[in-house]
């Protein structure tokens, strides 16, 4: 208890005059060591706030390592519903001695530090608000089993923080029970730990900071889920039947979660599965299996990250040219090469658009939210089969592995569309067919599936030159005609891919264009620009490549369009330059972030204002 007194009144005074209380608007950072089981405590703290009705987001900043290295978990609570990463930390929960000093140094004056007493962080600076907690003493009391203490310890700070922020303890208890639903003993232990923290705070900590969580009703009926789980569900409901994968961060959890869901919802009463999920030996094999399965008629997919995408280059060209549907999830992480495997990025956009040698162009979808991970799963399969070509869903680590709040996902009403497939009956009518003939003028030919019981059903799929019937051909005219038709499919796709989201009055001269997870920073930045700089902007969020009319029109309607993205070379801006009327390209401006942390609103606002020369 003495600990709380060590904070000298002066230093508290130095914090300047009394600050107005800050309610439901803060970001909390928990600094721990990975493998120390802090995951569950953090989830409990997150859920407790969520259950108070306050919008939240949780981001885990973890190392590419299994145990023993620093990890930071950031919880943002925002009454306004801002869920992008916030640059400034308001409350630091310092549990990791190795980084504690730096963590504290990074804080802005007036921030709050909740620390493990032995770390004596209050010595570091005198412009912060400190609370010390003797975790080891407390944990010893609640957890007789010494070897469990390391894990339990973390739940104590949840109790302390809850008390300091005035989070109703019943919400903490509820969250703990949910977290350990299947493990009664763990639940009891953790509950005791949280309680101990809570009680300690009540007895020993004098509230000296302005941050409070107060009940509101902005999370009613909402769910919390990560993008990979949402994608897994989406693919399951999209009728996916063959899944192949090779483990790679941050995509592994997509398939691992899918396995669980499929086992539960896609196994018949006879115990037989309506799916096959195969762990391949590498990404070449994974995509090869996807292509083989799709050719034979399955809705097949794989999930990977940058290195896997690069390894899939040759096969992607095969699928493009043989015209085979394939759905590939790229949960982007920081490249090039191995890069930063546990950091987020939008760095695969350009190389994926033109993946493989020769002339190739690929359809890409850009989900921004967990609900889009769910809905775009079906879009991806429908588009892949509609246009008989690979479709890449470009998610990222931030979306895929972090916790996001969302409305529950709507049941898909759109029936599954398998595209142009000829049945035995069709063939009996037609008598014959030419696999690569543009019958409907949309560039898309009709295909047959192996096993179709008709002597004319078969065709020869080959990655080498072929004519309309799929027969081997080296004729210049056959080749040229075929390539132009394939290009036509891409043009046709423009009016089938998801249309962009456009926000704003449409009256501003300034446009902002973004995609994927950058969206959340833009939402917040536009308000900052408006509030702080009286700068109104229009905003277009790209959902797909190729671009639709709206994208062109948007750029045409604005003097300047800032393209905001999380890579070095302005990859989306590049795709735009290659696609829009060349007269418009001078209107594009790039704002790029490449440090691997989810992009935040403040940086966007500052950079944009700088470029506006203000």
């Amino acid at each position: 208890m003495a600990t709380t007194d060590v904070v000298p009144q002066e230093s508290f005074g130095q914090l300047g005059q009394k600050r107005a209380v800050v309610v439901n608007d803060m970001s909390i950072q928990v600094a721990t060591v990975n493998g120390s089981g802090s995951q569950s405590s953090n989830t409990v703290l997150l859920r407790s706030i969520f259950q108070m009705g306050v919008p939240i987001s949780g981001k885990n900043l973890f190392p590419s390592n299994i145990a023993g290295l620093p990890t930071w978990f950031t919880i943002r609570a925002s009454k306004d519903g801002y869920i992008a990463r916030k640059k400034e930390i308001d409350l630091l929960i310092a549990m990791n001695g190795e980084t504690a000093q730096d963590d504290v140094k990074m804080l802005a004056a007036g921030a709050v530090v909740l620390y493990d007493e032995p770390l004596a962080l209050d010595k570091v600076r005198d412009d912060l608000i400190y609370y010390a907690v003797p975790y080891d003493k407390l944990v010893a009391a609640v957890c007789p089993e010494a070897k469990l203490r390391k894990l339990i310890k973390n739940m104590i700070y949840v109790g302390v923080a809850a008390q300091l922020l005035e989070i109703d303890f019943v919400e903490v208890e509820k969250a703990i029970r949910k977290q350990f639903a299947t493990k009664a003993k763990a639940a009891t232990l953790n509950l005791a730990a949280a309680k101990a923290g809570h009680d300690y705070a009540v007895a020993n900590l004098k509230k000296r900071d302005p941050f409070y969580i107060r009940r509101m009703d902005k999370t009613k009926g909402k769910i919390i889920v990560d993008g990979n789980s949402a994608a897994a569900m989406g693919c399951m409901f999209a009728g996916c039947t063959v899944v192949t994968w090779y483990p790679i961060t941050p995509s592994s959890s997509l398939v691992e979660t899918m396995i669980e869901y499929m086992k539960e919802y896609r196994v018949g009463p006879d115990g037989k599965a309506t799916f096959a999920i195969v762990q391949a030996e590498d990404e070449l094999a994974a995509v090869g299996m996807v292509i083989g399965a799709a050719w034979a008629g399955a809705r097949s997919m794989t999930a990977t990250a940058g290195p896997g995408i690069s390894l899939m280059a040759e096969f992607t060209g095969l699928a493009y040219y043989v015209e085979i549907p394939a759905v590939i999830w790229d949960i982007q992480r920081v490249g090039p090469s191995t890069g930063l495997p546990t950091r987020t990025s939008q760095g695969d956009v350009l190389s994926t658009a033109f993946l493989s040698h020769g002339d190739t162009k690929h359809i890409m979808l850009f989900p921004s939210s967990v609900s889009e991970c769910f809905t775009m799963a079906q879009d991806a399969f429908d588009l892949a089969e509609r246009f008989q070509t690979p479709v890449f869903v470009m998610s990222d680590l931030d979306l895929g592995m972090n916790n996001w709040m969302s409305e529950p996902f709507p049941y898909p009403e759109k029936p599954i569309n398998r595209g142009k497939v000829l049945s035995k009956a069709d063939l009996e009518k037609a008598g014959s067919f030419a696999r690569y003939r543009d019958v409907d003028g949309d560039g898309v030919g009709y295909r047959t599936l192996p096993g179709t019981d008709h002597p004319a059903a078969a065709y020869f799929a080959r990655g080498s030159g072929h004519n309309e019937k799929g027969q081997y051909s080296e004729r210049p005219d056959d080749f040229e005609r075929n390539m132009e038709r394939i290009n036509k499919k891409f043009e046709t796709a423009r009016s089938f891919v998801p249309r962009p989201e456009i926000i704003g009055s449409g009256k501003s001269k300034i446009g902002i264009l973004a995609y994927g997870t950058s969206h959340w920073a833009i939402i917040e930045s536009r308000d900052q620009l408006s509030k702080e700089h009286k700068l109104e902007t229009d905003y277009l969020r790209v959902l797909s490549y190729p671009f639709t009319r709206e994208v062109h029109d948007f750029i045409e309607r604005h003097d300047r369009t800032y393209v905001v993205e999380q890579n070095r070379d302005g990859q989306m801006a590049s795709l735009l330059k290659l696609d829009i009327k060349t007269e418009l390209t001078p209107r594009l401006r790039s704002i790029c972030h490449i440090h691997g942390l989810p992009i935040d609103a403040r940086s966007v606002t500052d950079e944009l204002m700088m470029m506006e020369g203000k």
Partner: protein
Amino acid sequence: MGTTTTNTPVPAPKTNRIGLQVIDYRGGKTTLCAGCGHNAISERIIDAMYEMGLQPERVMKFSGIGCSSKSPAYFMNRSHSFNSVHGRMPSVATGATLANKNLMALGVTGDGDTVSIGAGQFVHLMRRNMPIIYVIEDNGCYGLTKGQFSATADLGSTLKSGVVNDLPPVDTCSLAIQLGATFVGRSFSGDKKQLHTMLKAAIAHNGTVMLDVVSPCVTFNDHEGSTKSYKYMQAHEEPLHEVSFVPAFEEINVEYDPGTTLEVTMHDGSSLRLKKLEQEYDPTDKIQAVHRLMESHEKGEVLTGVFYINEKAPSFVDMLNVTDEPLATLPQSRTRPSREALAKCMEELQ
């Protein structure tokens, strides 16, 4: 007298048990070199499929890239075929088999396609025991790129240019056996009867069939100094036994002497008969099989026959326990869970 035959009845064309003629199993005109071993193998495949009475529409053909990988275009035009990329056909065939396990998958490839660029996928195909017939048309070189050594070229064998191969060959058979394939053998494109018989047995097998068929490249590797030439094979082929095969659907019960002939009953009831030509050999014994292969390799003989067969092991598809209908064509009612299911998922996340 040709003139007098006009009014004799035209004999009904010969058909197989499902009423198809051999022509129904034919493919396009070959563009391979005259005399290429690969062409002979295509012929054997046609005969075997015809005699086994498989419906062509129930067969999927796969290949990688190479002269050998072109051959699927030269047999069974009525079967779907996928000529994929170099060295990665196993994954494509695996995927297709997952999508429709009720069709027969036949992969035809080369030694370069398999053991050079394809070594990785080959290893894992064997390991999974996927129900796929994998035929290597093995000429010890890269035919389509003009005859460089492949990884099955024997130590000391030479190119036409005289260049000597100083790397040891990979024995695809002993590899396949150790890795998990359940029907492994070697034959020679010139050994009509043996190859024909082994192919029929292969069709009856459930699981990965790995057949390494020595198939001379007449243009680049049929010279003195080649160990994959017709001459060399005629001199060094060493049949382990005489193979004969009686399909399940055939009534005729051929006599055989259990003392000299070993019978393997296959899972569909067909029987594979191996007439001993040498000391005791049990084709269901992995260890002995590999041992024998390594021995004969040291002796410099090219052992042919069915080296290993396992009719009990479940295939990868069996282990997946998927529904009986092909996954490829399941209706939405089977592949999209109910509203209740989604509600339940959502609830858990609230």
